[in-house]
């Protein structure tokens, strides 16, 4: 018998068990998030007798006689304090780590009312955040401390909510206080739990699946195999090559493959039952690298062959230009797999709904999920409804279905509401990662450092399934040229299937890989020419009206030169400064129909924004509200932002390619213009029930289009980042200057920059997704994610330049923030110790992992 208090409520419990599920399921304290259940992420922090403790490790017996506090038990003053401070500081993005941060902040402030930034960072060291880079979270805690010292009075801020204002994000409060619902926080009457039995071998033939013992276990509802799938066994974002479950007689392609799906009354029974499913395999040789995959006698990962995609992009005559160049340099590069490590693991709830199913999901495209689930169930699309709950981070890793279709299947077959949630280790195994790439570049320039021509090759490991491997390779190739003004470019890229975990979309979409190479090449060429790394970039930088290597004439919003000018002084002042530039498209581009769609509906005297575009933490809802205010002149209180869904919101594409601010933003603006026409004659009340549909097609030309100056993308963002090392070779500061066209919410833009930079500091220095024989060895706690007390200052410089005629001139910034960081850091180390590093993560830095020492 254990007795303790949770938020001043007395509990007396008989059985023992872990604290975290007790708090979530019995006490209904949903602010306590479950990000890993293995003690690594920190989302489940609670205060136990005023000390911050991770709730997933201790048991109830350890709580005997103690007082536990979660955000639900905070005083009204504290709730208001933290809700205000986190919103004002712009500390909230996906929000999944935030309640844990608030707990640790309170734990600190209750004993130290005036902490330094270092002390705050140290108090947050056990809480991982993947979105913010920690800076604004530390700002928030500093602000909360200050307000508390001044008596706790919360300032009343008034905003106009027009474009350009540092408004509080629309979801900041619910995320800070933990009452905003992610899928895992939902409950449903009679809900069951399902999960997959996964392959024991990266490549093996499934000879037979024996589900009897599992089915006979009390509390098991059903065990499904591929035979039970009513529609297509194969699904996939673009290429339909991904088996929902591997059928008997077929081959597995990686360790994440589902063989059977078990549904049970409780998560505990589910885990037991999964172990009772007996699968016999014929183990087969596997393919663990693209070099094995390209061999003629290589085992076939897919029957159609191991080459998923081959892209050849050429313009001008690169070979001749290089032959005639004054300086030529050739180098090979390697970049590794990267795990997204979003804080919220994949989770979906499926339930029978009318004549179909309803799926609550956490993904980057509700319509993508609808399409794939419908295909698998053999149902018309409209019978599958998908509703996004809050999304706890995506970064590209939630573009594919992982649990959504499994939830849909079990709900459809069992006619019961069902939750499918990945454990953290499953998440690390299952969802597509950033492509590892091997690249070789040859660049020639004239005596002044002007680029004459670039030739390159790319070999990508796309893992077991296509996912977005084709487009990622394409973007790697098209953007390898860099944001420079020259006309001779040729690149050849190939992506091969292997039996490794699949690779797909990841913030930067292939460009994080090739940009590293091109920028390192320029750093080398600058040295050969005898000019500074800044100068070579400034001389070559693309400027309005010039042609990119792909032939596109860039518009007036092109501000690369301005971003270079913004960092010139700081770069030149520091001996150990490295610099890199980048460009990134906003919008899918290359001739693919790219639609933004939105409905503005007048409901109960308010204007509701409905669009199927997912907010994955970047702040899309806030952007769209600001767009509506700017367009219609309505007040914030008159506008309601609804989340992405397929029921009442039109398809606005995937949250991918830094496209939502521009593309859905423009669709919302257009709907707003239609509303304005009516509004001129009527009051809002008179328009009750009316809907205004806005649509924007971002029209582009396909790759290789036979026009002199094809428009590959409707807009590009540009950036220059500078990394400054101190005398010990540690990063003192990273300065990131970004051309965003128009900053809709500068606070959010800074948050994207800080978070993107810190994410790529990990990519450059510490992160590792280790594989051995196609099996991931990494755990969440060993991925090498930066922690709060380890990050240097990141200074954002926002460059605004008009010229884009849509979406108020705003260009998405989601991805580019992560692109030039690694080469800027590598450039800084080159100046620090003279070592020219061509592989990531960079070797021999103070951040390199220490080998086991005695």
């Amino acid at each position: 018998m254990y007795k303790f208090y949770v938020n001043d409520q007395f509990y007396q419990v008989e059985g023992n068990g872990k604290l975290l599920p007790f708090l979530r399921d019995v006490c209904k304290c949903k602010s306590v998030k479950d990000g890993c259940s293995e003690g690594a992420c920190g989302t489940c922090h609670v205060l136990v007798d005023k000390t911050a403790v991770k709730a997933c490790i201790p048991t109830l017996s350890m709580m005997d006689g103690r007082r536990i506090l979660t955000i639900e038990g905070f005083s009204k003053e504290d709730r208001e304090l933290y809700a205000y401070a986190f919103a004002e500081a712009g500390a909230v993005q996906c929000g999944f780590c935030i309640p844990g941060m608030v707990i640790c902040a309170k734990g600190l402030l209750d004993v130290n009312g005036n902490p330094t930034r270092e002390e705050i960072a140290y108090a947050l060291r056990n809480n991982i955040c993947r979105c913010t880079g920690y800076k604004k979270i530390i700002d928030a805690v500093e602000l909360a401390a200050m307000l508390k010292r001044e008596g706790g009075k919360i300032p009343q801020k008034e905003f106009t909510w027009r474009l350009g204002e540092r408004v509080h994000r629309v979801d900041a409060r619910e995320k800070t206080l933990g009452y905003g619902e992610y899928v895992d926080d939902m409950e449903a009457d009679g809900m069951i739990y399902a999960g997959a039995v996964r392959s024991q071998y990266p490549r093996a033939r499934v000879l037979s699946i024996d589900t009897e013992a599992a089915k006979n276990l009390a509390g098991v509802i059903a065990v499904y195999t591929a035979k039970d799938i009513p529609g297509s066994v194969k699904v996939g974002h673009l290429v339909h090559d991904w088996d929902t479950m591997i059928p008997e007689g077929e081959c597995t392609r990686y360790l994440g493959d589902a063989i059977a799906i078990v549904a049970a009354e409780t998560p505990e029974i589910l885990e037991k039952a999964k172990k009772l499913v007996r699968v016999s395999y014929e183990e087969l040789p596997f393919v663990s690298s693209p070099y094995e995959a390209m061999k003629e006698d290589a085992p076939l990962v897919h029957e159609k062959g191991n080459l998923l995609a081959h892209k050849h992009v050429a313009r001008g005559n690169a070979k001749e230009a290089i032959a005639n160049a004054e300086y030529v340099y050739t180098e090979k590069f390697h970049t590794p797999y990267t795990e997204h490590a979003f804080l919220e693991p994949e989770c979906a709830i499926g339930m029978p709904y009318e004549d179909g199913v309803l799926v609550y999901s956490t993904d980057q495209g509700t319509y993508d999920t609808q399409k794939e689930c419908a295909m698998m169930l053999g149902l018309p699309k409209e019978k599958v409804r998908v509703v996004n709950k809050l999304v706890g981070g995506g970064f590209g890793g939630k573009e594919d279905v992982t649990v959504q279709h499994q939830a849909a299947l079990v709900a459809w077959l069992s006619k019961k509401p069902v939750k499918v949630k990945l454990s953290r280790q499953e998440s690390i195994l299952v969802h597509p990662k950033r492509h590892p790439m091997d690249m070789e570049f040859t660049v020639g320039c004239d005596k002044d450092g002007r680029i004459q021509g670039v030739m390159a090759t790319v070999i990508a490991d796309t893992g077991a399934y296509a996912s977005l491997g084709g487009p990622v390779l394409e973007r790697a190739c098209t953007h390898a040229a860099g944001p420079y003004n020259y006309q001779n470019f040729e690149i050849d890229g190939k992506a091969y299937y292997t039996n490794n975990p699949p690779a797909g979309a990841f913030r930067g979409f292939g460009v994080t890989q090739t940009c590293f190479c091109m920028e390192m090449m320029l750093t080398k060429l600058a040295e050969m020419v005898g000019i500074s790394p800044w100068e070579i970039r400034y001389r070559n930088a693309i400027r309005p009206g010039q042609e990119l290597p792909n032939g596109q004439i860039v518009d007036a919003s092109t501000g690369l030169a301005e971003t270079l000018e913004a960092v010139k002084e700081i770069f030149e002042r520091h001996p150990y400064a490295g610099i890199a530039c980048a460009m990134k498209n906003a919008g899918v581009g290359v001739g693919i129909p790219d639609f933004g769609r939105a409905i503005l509906a007048v409901v109960d005297g308010k204007l509701h924004i409905r669009s199927g575009a997912s907010c994955i933490g970047q702040g899309l809802g806030t952007v769209l509200v600001q767009m509506v205010v700017e367009t219609t002149g309505l007040k914030r209180e008159q506008i309601v932002y609804e989340g992405a869904n397929t029921i009442n919101a039109p398809d606005s594409g995937t949250t991918s390619g830094s496209r939502q601010t521009l593309i859905t933003g423009e669709a919302v603006r257009r709907a707003g213009m239609l509303f304005n026409q009516d509004r001129a004659q009527h009051t809002l009340e008179e328009l009750e029930g009316k809907e205004y549909y806005g649509e924007y097609l971002a029209k582009t030309d396909p790759l290789g289009a036979d026009v002199p100056n094809p428009v590959s993308h409707v807009a590009y963002g540009y950036a220059t980042q500078v990394c400054i090392l101190d005398e010990e070779g540690r990063i003192e500061k990273i300065v990131a200057a970004h051309d965003v066209g128009r900053a809709v919410n500068p606070l959010s833009v800074e948050g994207q920059i800080e978070g993107g930079v810190v994410m790529s500091m990990g990519y450059a220095l510490t992160e590792e997704y280790a594989l051995k024989d196609c099996k991931p060895l990494s755990k969440f706690g060993t991925l090498g994610l930066f922690r709060a007390h380890q990050v240097p200052d990141v200074e954002s410089i926002i460059v605004e330049k008009p010229g884009l005629s849509v979406a108020g001139g705003a260009i998405g910034i989601g991805e580019i923030t992560s692109i030039p960081t690694a080469p800027a850091i590598a450039g800084a180390y080159y100046r620090y110790d003279g070592k020219y590093r061509t592989s990531l993560p960079l070797a021999d830095t103070p951040y390199s992992r220490k080998k086991r020492e005695a």
């Binding site: 293995e38 003690g39 991770k54 490790i57 048991t59 002390e119 706690g781 086991r852 005695a854």
Partner: protein
């Protein structure tokens, strides 16, 4: 990593918890009280198990006890880090088991259950690497011998 801050106040701890009966361990605390004598803050006492124990509230991290210990088993930890190993036995499992009921037998369960490779068995005894420790307590919960401690006293071995 990063510049060290004043949060990194150091605190001594004795890497031996003693057993409830007389222990025969040649690595552990002998109860000689050299540390007690040198401590100017009365922060160390010989506890009921006959081994030295540091009061973190009183310890100022001066390291006099660390220098005075003839067994070399008093170490420093960051006062804000909560988990530490209270055993210094380096013998193989069976011998370590024989030597003391509260001994590290180098079974490696802490290492296996640590999410961040912070708990490691080195040279026959568990050790926590502060730099990578995520303060979760998995090591404490998984240790079958109860040799890893939570300075706050919250997470502990289930059976104790």
């Amino acid at each position: 990593m990063g510049k060290q801050n004043n949060q990194r106040k150091q605190c001594a701890y004795v890497a031996c918890a003693g057993g409830e009966r007389d222990h025969t361990c040649r690595y552990g605390c002998t109860g000689c009280a050299s540390c007690v004598e040198v401590c100017k803050k009365q922060a160390i006492k010989i506890n009921t198990y006959g081994v030295a124990e540091v009061d973190p509230g009183k310890c100022v991290g001066c390291r006099l006890c660390e220098k005075a210990c003839p067994q070399g088993i008093i170490h420093m930890r960051s006062a804000a880090e909560v988990f530490f190993v209270r055993c210094s036995n380096r013998e193989k499992g069976a011998e370590a088991r024989k030597a003391c009921e509260a001994s590290c037998i180098a079974c490696g369960l802490c290492e296996k259950n640590c999410p961040s490779e912070a708990a490691r068995v080195e040279d026959g005894c568990a050790r926590i690497w502060e730099e990578t420790c995520l303060s979760c307590g998995n090591c404490v919960v998984s240790c079958p011998r109860g040799v890893i401690y939570d300075a706050r006293g919250i997470i502990r071995k289930e059976t104790r």
